[in-house]
């Protein structure tokens, strides 16, 4: 049974590993490198790796390995408690894996005198277990109790904590049950002690009941002095050399003390076998599920850290950058550091679209890369979330896994805005980095498309309304009034002196400004006074406003021209979103 379960989970693990690694070279994300096939990417990666290994960059790899992988310096920089939790879990688990789970392969090969029941091994197993448990408790406190603002806990995060906790708790529980178990005591006496004198065995049992936590159905304290003395002698002759006293296994011993009142019953119903199964099944589930869970970061994150140390967006080959980005999707542990420091955090709070938060964007990118079909509303939300980013790079700077999130956003943003319903946020300074940096790296029509599409959408029925052959529809239904704010209604003070239009640098930029801008600033104020909000909010002028506030500063009537234009933009976006 054990072998069957073990080999099944091992095979699933290995197949999963092969599959996941193959996706690093086959999956695509974003607009860059969409023409690169797996063969090119594997060749490019091998070339890149070889070049790095035989260059001076190898030293920086070594430095990153020690600092960021072994010592996890980037996690420490983020938060000391999180670092402690992560170190405890990672190293505790690693040591348990090597010493305890792989004892036949590792411990026995290294230590000729290895016995799991002998110190220091007996104590260390519990010590490592306590490390993991302490780490898991800290992680659970962060996820479920202290819950920092905007830290999202996904199914994957629950699973990871549950699996590790199940392995640890079942292991410690099993140990406790064994310490308290009378049948286990009998088995060990039979297997190891080679005693046949019933009285001597009884004396030994008395000592184990009094001193070592065994709960016996036959013997009750207090014991006779002579009996104890005989038992101690038997213990010294038969047990002591190969079994450290159970107190050394402090976790298990504590459990044994705790279950003392029901220990006999637990022993009778075969709970040891049951908990043993839980323990190994939890371990095997953890193993088989590893490549598909967030625990895969054990493999992907060090690679991401190392690759990012030696790669440079300016000089690395596009094939390797794409491959690295796919690895980065696996390297994300959904720890939330990016979202905790996100500059757009308050925009998320105001709008409520969780894809604004980088950690949630990452989760959605995994879905995108795996080719999962997203619902229209989900893909619209992701598109908005990816765009509502101020490109401040904090997520990239903070990421403990060293993921270059900003490059992912750049690439994915272009993929997302190239299709689907037009995104109004394109017409805002969120586009600054796109215009400044991305513009040069993509084709001109790809760059222009989302801007033109958004402009088309926000102008609504403007062309019809402004048609000189049509009468101005003075009885037109005005748009629903947006919540007003300070200065909103100052347009009613306008007496059409045109000062705003005269000083406007945008108007001044064109020979025939009406043709380009639709309406000039003073005409927009007039429209509003006439209740023609739709016409006013459809004019190109409002989107070409530089927000330099010259109009407002120069208005003799204190009309807040520029702020009114801001307001109209808000109205146009709202209207476009509704329709």
């Amino acid at each position: 049974m054990f072998d069957y379960l073990f080999y099944t989970s091992l095979v699933v693990f290995l197949l999963g590993l092969i599959y996941k690694i193959s996706t690093w070279f086959t999956k695509h994300i974003g607009v860059f490198g969409s023409d690169l096939n797996a063969k090119k990417r594997i060749l490019s990666a091998s070339k890149g790796i070889t070049q790095v290994i035989f260059s001076r960059k190898a030293f920086s790899l070594l430095e990153t390995f020690v600092l960021d992988v072994v010592f996890q310096h980037r996690v420490l920089r983020e938060n000391a408690v999180r670092w402690l939790a992560h170190m405890l879990i990672f190293y505790g688990f690693l040591l348990l894996l090597l010493m305890h789970a792989l004892e036949n392969v590792v411990s026995e090969a290294i230590f000729s005198d290895y016995y799991s029941t002998v110190n220091p091994f007996f104590f260390l197993r519990d010590f490592f277990g306590a490390m993991v448990l302490a780490g898991i408790i800290l992680a659970a406190i962060r996820r479920y109790i202290s819950k920092p603002q905007r830290l999202k806990t996904s199914r994957m995060d629950h699973y990871a904590i549950i699996i590790v906790a199940a392995i640890m708790l079942s292991g410690i529980g099993l140990e406790g049950l064994k310490i308290a178990s009378h049948s286990e005591f009998q088995r060990m006496v039979e297997d190891y002690a080679g005693m046949d004198d019933e009285e001597e065995i009884q004396a030994l049992e008395a000592v184990w009941v009094r001193d070592y936590g065994v709960v016996s159905p036959n013997l009750r304290e207090p014991f006779d002095e002579d009996l104890i003395e005989a038992g101690q002698e038997a213990h010294a002759n038969n047990c002591k050399d190969c079994h450290a006293s159970p107190q050394w296994a402090f976790n298990g011993y504590a459990v044994a003390k705790l279950i003392k009142p029901v220990a006999l019953w637990l022993d009778k119903i075969g709970s040891i076998t049951l908990v043993w199964y839980i323990h190994i099944i939890a371990c095997f589930i953890g193993l088989a599920y590893l490549p598909f869970s967030k625990m895969f970061h054990i493999i992907a994150t060090p690679l991401s850290l190392l690759a990012n140390k030696v790669m440079d967006p300016a000089t690395s080959s596009p094939a390797n950058i794409l491959t690295r980005q796919i690895i980065e999707l696996d390297a994300c542990t959904h720890c939330g550091s990016c979202s905790l420091h996100c500059s757009a955090a308050m925009i998320y709070e105001a709008i409520g679209n969780e894809y604004i938060l980088p950690s949630e964007k990452m989760a959605s990118l995994k879905q995108l890369a795996s080719g999962k079909k997203l619902s229209d509303s989900q893909s619209a939300a992701i598109r908005e979330g990816v765009y509502l980013c101020t490109n401040c790079d904090r997520c990239t700077v903070r990421c403990p896994s060293g993921i270059r999130l900003k490059e992912l956003w750049y690439s994915v943003r272009e993929e997302l805005v190239a299709s689907g319903t037009p995104l109004m946020h394109v017409l805002s300074p969120y586009s600054f980095a796109r215009g400044l940096i991305i513009q040069d790296s993509i084709p001109a029509d790809t760059y222009a498309y989302p801007i033109a599409a958004a402009r088309q959408t926000v102008s609504g029925g403007f062309d019809k309304l402004i048609n000189p052959n049509m009468a101005i529809p003075l009885n037109a239904q005005t748009s629903p009034e947006p919540p007003s704010t300070v200065g909103d209604h100052t347009y009613s003070q306008c007496f059409s002196c045109q000062s705003c239009t005269v000083v406007c640098p945008v108007v001044g930029n064109y020979e025939h400004p009406e043709q380009v801008l639709g309406l000039l600033p003073h005409q927009i104020m007039c429209c509003l006074a006439l209740g023609l909000t739709e016409m006013a909010s459809g004019a190109q002028m409002i989107w070409d406003c530089l927000t330099c506030y010259k109009c407002q500063e120069n208005c003799p009537q204190q009309v807040e021209v520029c702020d009114v234009l801001y307001r109209l933009k808000n109205v146009a976006v709202e209207t476009a979103d509704i329709s």
Binding site: A344, A350, C392, S428, P429, Q439, I451, K569, N570
Partner: protein, 291 residues
């Protein structure tokens, strides 16, 4: 003096030399800058699309500074304008303030209007003072002509920003002239640099940039002096795109004010990030006069 440093989003990502030069200059002038990790976007980019998102984002920063008990020193003119506008709105509109504070409660914050928002140039001019600056200067420029770009969002709407006289401002000119440089009069001194439309209407944005640069050049300027990352990036990165067109002339390099001042305070070029511009400005030190 102590301030909470507000860098905004562009500077750490794309214009680190502005932060480096500012830190270097202010530490010479005994001003302590406190970095508040929880500062976020000033709200400026959200103004076009979502009024409340803009105010909330700005207010969070004001409330963070308030919790730290520090006035804000803002480096970006657009951040400055946005924070000042939000401050103005919050104090004019009690309903808005209550609504925003409701959201800030979740962050354990409250906006009470307890601190002042100041731009770097105002701090240098008013808080440090021109006398102190003069006495700290160890080298001055000779024959250097500078075109100062005031930055719309600091200057206007003047009833909200309170930065300087919106029609004939002097603050930036005087700060430049302290260094021995001559601040030229130029037609587009108070105009927009084009950055607000970069990414939205690039041809129009570039027209604005081009016109400003031509105007500064016609006035005989050797450099355009900026104190805003948007303007600076526009004059540096977008201008380099413009000059890749053979029809346009040699570029006119932008220089950040703390870089210009820093050299006069005896700070080394590399600590001011003089070499980090896209458009070379290394010629600046040739204007420094040796005593």
């Amino acid at each position: 003096m102590k301030f909470a440093l507000f860098q905004g989003c562009n500077i750490p990502a794309r214009l680190e030399q502005y932060a480096d030069a500012t830190q270097a200059v202010l530490s010479k002038l005994d001003i302590e800058l406190i970095e508040i990790a929880d500062f976020n976007c000033c709200g400026y980019p959200a103004r076009n699309t979502d009024y409340r998102a803009f105010v909330l984002s700005a207010a969070k920063n004001l409330a963070e500074a308030e919790r730290a008990g520090l006035d804000m020193l803002v480096m970006c003119k657009c951040c400055y304008g946005s924070l000042k506008k939000a401050e103005y709105l919050l104090n004019q509109d009690p309903d808005l303030k209550a609504n925003i504070n409701q959201s800030l409660k979740k962050e354990n914050l409250e906006y009470k209007n307890g601190i002042q928002v100041k731009h770097l140039l105002s701090v240098l001019y008013h808080d440090v003072g021109t006398d102190r600056l003069k006495s700290s200067i160890v080298k001055t420029y000779g024959g250097l002509q500078i075109a100062v770009s005031y930055g719309c969002h600091a200057l206007r709407p003047s009833n909200v920003t309170g930065f300087d006289d919106p029609v004939s401002p002097r603050l930036f000119d005087e700060l430049v002239e302290l260094t021995g440089a001559f601040s030229v009069e130029w037609a587009r001194k108070l105009d927009c640099c084009g950055a607000p439309l970069t990414g939205i209407n690039d041809p129009l944005a570039m027209d604005m940039t081009q016109k400003k640069i031509s105007s500064a050049r016609e006035a005989g300027a050797n450099y355009i002096c900026t104190a805003c990352p948007y303007s600076h990036l526009q004059f540096d990165v977008v201008q380099s795109r413009l000059v890749s067109n053979p029809e346009t002339r040699d570029p006119l390099a932008p220089i950040l004010y703390p870089q210009l001042l820093g050299l006069c305070l005896g700070i080394e070029e590399k600590n001011l990030g003089i070499g980090k511009n896209k458009i070379d400005l290394s010629g600046i030190s040739s204007f420094l006069m040796t005593e």
